[in-house]
Symmetry: C2
Subunit: 343 residues, 2 copies
C-alpha cells in the first residue's frame, strides 16, 4: 500500500468540517450545500484523495470483485475468456482477481480459498476436472456465488459454457460424412475426467454404426503444438490405418498438420484434420484448418450476468442452471479437398 495517502480525516482537518460531512459531500449528498461541497471537493482534489476501497468493502460488506480461476493461459481460447471477463467486469465496476490452477486440483482449491478469504463477491471457474467438483459444490452450498465455465448438467452448480460434446460430435460427424471411417482422436483430457470431446467422438461413430479402433484414441500428453506433432508420429507408429484426425484443440491440430507437412503426407488428401477452438492461427495455416468455433464474448457475457445475478440474489441462491451454447463447425481446406477444388 502506498505510504501516507489522504484520508477523509485529512480532508476534514484541512477544511474544518467533520469526517462525516466530507464523506457526504464527496458522495454527492443533497444535505450538503454547494458552497461546502465545492470547498471539500477542491481540497480532496488537491490532496489527491481516492476513497479507500478496503474500508468501503468492510462496511458495505461487498468488495465488488470477482475471482477468475483458469487452468492456464497457454490455450488462446482461455486467454480470450480472461480478457473478455476482465473487460465485462470492469464495465460493471468490478475488479478481476486472477489465478491459474495449472490443472492441479489442490492449487485450484487453494486459489478458491484465497479468493474466499479476500471476500470476492463471486467466482468464475474453469475447473481442472469436470468431474471432481465437490469442493466447488460445497462452496455453492454455503451460498457462495460460483459459475463454472465448463458445464455438467448434473453437477448442481451454475455453469455457462460451450457444449464441447456437441462440438466434438459435429467435427467427427463431418469427417465420417466425408467418407472417413477411420478417424483418430488426439485428446488427453479424458484422463483428467473431462470426457466431453471423447463422448462426442464416440457418439458420432455410434450414430453412423461405427466402432472406432481404441488404438486410434491417443493421449498427446499436453496441449501444445509440439504435443500434436508427437501424437501424430505416435499414431503412425501404431500401424493402424486412419485417414482423418480430430484434435481436441487447434494447437494439437497445427502440430499434426506440421507433422504431415514434414513427412510428405498431403492434407486433406492423405489425412484430413479437424481442430477445435478456431484460434486465429488455424485460418492462416499452410492448409487452413477446419475447426469448431464459438462466440467467446457471448458466453462470457452470459457467465458474468449469471454470476452477478447470483451475487445480487438475496438470501438463498436460486436453483443451479447450466447454459450450454452450441458451437459451430467451420469447414476449411484441411478436412475437405472438395472444398479445395471449388474454393
Amino acid at each position: 500500500m502506498a505510504k501516507s495517502v489522504a484520508r477523509l480525516k485529512d480532508i476534514a482537518e484541512q477544511t474544518g468540517f467533520s469526517v462525516n460531512t466530507v464523506s457526504l459531500a464527496l458522495r454527492g449528498s443533497a444535505r450538503i450545500p454547494d458552497e461546502t461541497r465545492a470547498v471539500i471537493l477542491q481540497t480532496a482534489e488537491r490532496m489527491n484523495y481516492l476513497p479507500n476501497q478496503v474500508a468501503q468493502s468492510l462496511v458495505r460488506r461487498e468488495t465488488r470483485s470477482v475471482g477468475l480461476i483458469l487452468t492456464d493461459l497457454k490455450n488462446p481460447v482461455l486467454t480470450a475468456v480472461a480478457q473478455a471477463v476482465e473487460l465485462e467486469l470492469s464495465k460493471r465496476g468490478y475488479t478481476t482477481l486472477f489465478a491459474t490452477s495449472n490443472n492441479i486440483l489442490s492449487r485450484e482449491a487453494e486459489m478458491i480459498e484465497t479468493f474466499r478469504s479476500r471476500r470476492a463477491d463471486g467466482m468464475l471457474i474453469f475447473p481442472c476436472s469436470h468431474r471432481q467438483l465437490d469442493h466447488i459444490r460445497a462452496l455453492r452450498n454455503r451460498n457462495y456465488p460460483v459459475v463454472l465455465l465448463v458445464g455438467d448438467p448434473d453437477a448442481r452448480i451454475d455453469a455457462v459454457c460451450m457444449d464441447e460434446r456437441a462440438g466434438a460430435f459435429k467435427a467427427v460427424a463431418h469427417l465420417i460424412n466425408n467418407g472417413h471411417s477411420n478417424v483418430a482422436l488426439i485428446d488427453g483430457a479424458a484422463l483428467l475426467g473431462n470426457t466431453e470431446k471423447q463422448e462426442g467422438y464416440l457418439r458420432a461413430h455410434a450414430m453412423m454404426g461405427l466402432t472406432p479402433d481404441p488404438r486410434l484414441m491417443l493421449d498427446p500428453k499436453g496441449a501444445s503444438v509440439a504435443a500434436g506433432f508427437w501424437a501424430m508420429d505416435e499414431l503412425r507408429g501404431r500401424k493402424v490405418h486412419f485417414s482423418a484426425v480430430f484434435a481436441a484443440n487447434d494447437s494439437l491440430a497445427l502440430g499434426s498438420l506440421r507433422y504431415c507437412c514434414k513427412n510428405g503426407l498431403r492434407v486433406p488428401e492423405d489425412i484430413a484434420i479437424v481442430g477445435f477452438d478456431n484460434i486465429e492461427f488455424a485460418e492462416y495455416a499452410v492448409t487452413p484448418l477446419t475447426t469448431i468455433n464459438y462466440d467467446v464474448m457471448r458466453v462470457t457475457k452470459l457467465a458474468i450476468e449469471r454470476v452477478l445475478e447470483l451475487i445480487g440474489a438475496a438470501g438463498e441462491l436460486p436453483e443451479a442452471r447450466v447454459t450450454q451454447v452450441e458451437p459451430e463447425l467451420v469447414v476449411r481446406e484441411s478436412s475437405s479437398w472438395r472444398y479445395v477444388a471449388t474454393g
Copy 2:
C-alpha cells in the same frame, strides 16, 4: 461477498473465549496454551472460518495484492507474462489484480486509479505508450511502487524488460548480413510512441551504411495474423523492391508468411521473414520462423522481485532503476536458405 460467514466473534461466542484470544490462538501465539488453542482451532474448522482479508488489510495497512495492467492478451507473449506474474506472486502470498488497457491511455489511467483505490501494494504495468508516462511517474513520485514491463532508461520509473531495440537490431542486422539490402519493416507501434523496434531497424541499417526506403516501413494497423497478411499485400502494392521483412511480432510474421505461400513467393528464397517473440506457432509454421526470443520467466521474476523490493522499502522509494534483458536471435529456415540446405 458470501452471505453470513463465520467471524472471530462467532468462534468467541461458541467457545466462550474473547475475540482476541481466538485471534491469537488462530495466529499461533505462544501466549495461548495448547488446550485452549485446540478447542478454538477445532471450532474454527467446524465453522469453516477463514480470516476476512479485507479487515486484515485495513488494520495491517497492506493488501498483499499487486495490480497487473497489460495492453491486451492477444499477444501470446503478454499472455505468458500474465501467467508467470500470477504464478510468482501467488508463490509469495500475493494476489493478482488484473486489467487490460486495450492500448487506450485513458483506460490505463482509469485502471491505475482503480488499483490505487483498492490499495494494491504495488503495480506492474505494460504501458500503452512508452513515451506518455506522466501519470505513472506521478504515481511513483507519490511513493507508489510501480514497475514497468517495457523500459525507457530516461523515464525515471523502475522497469524490468526485454531490450526491444537490441532485439530488433539483431533481427535486422542478421537479414542485412545475409545479403538483404532492402528489408521491409512491419510495425505499427511507432504511432503509439513505441519506437524501439523501429530504432533498432534504423540503427542496423546505419551500422551497415544503408538508408532504408521509407516506403518499406509500414503500419499494419493491428498486431494480428490478418494484419500481417494485409501488410504484405500492401507492401507489394508499393512497387518498391524488397527481399526481406522484419515483422514486429510473430503473428504479423505468420500473416506475411501465409501471404507469400498463397501468392507463390518462396520463403526464404524470394522473401526472407523474421518475426519477434518466438511464440510456439513460429517454430511449427510451414517455414519455421526466425525470430527473437527472450526468457519471459526470468524477466517476470526480476520484475516481481523489484516491485516487492519497492513495496518493502521503508520511507522514500529508492532511485529508479531500469533493467534490460538482452534477447537472442533464433535462426530458422524463414531467413536463411543456407540453413534449409544444411538443416
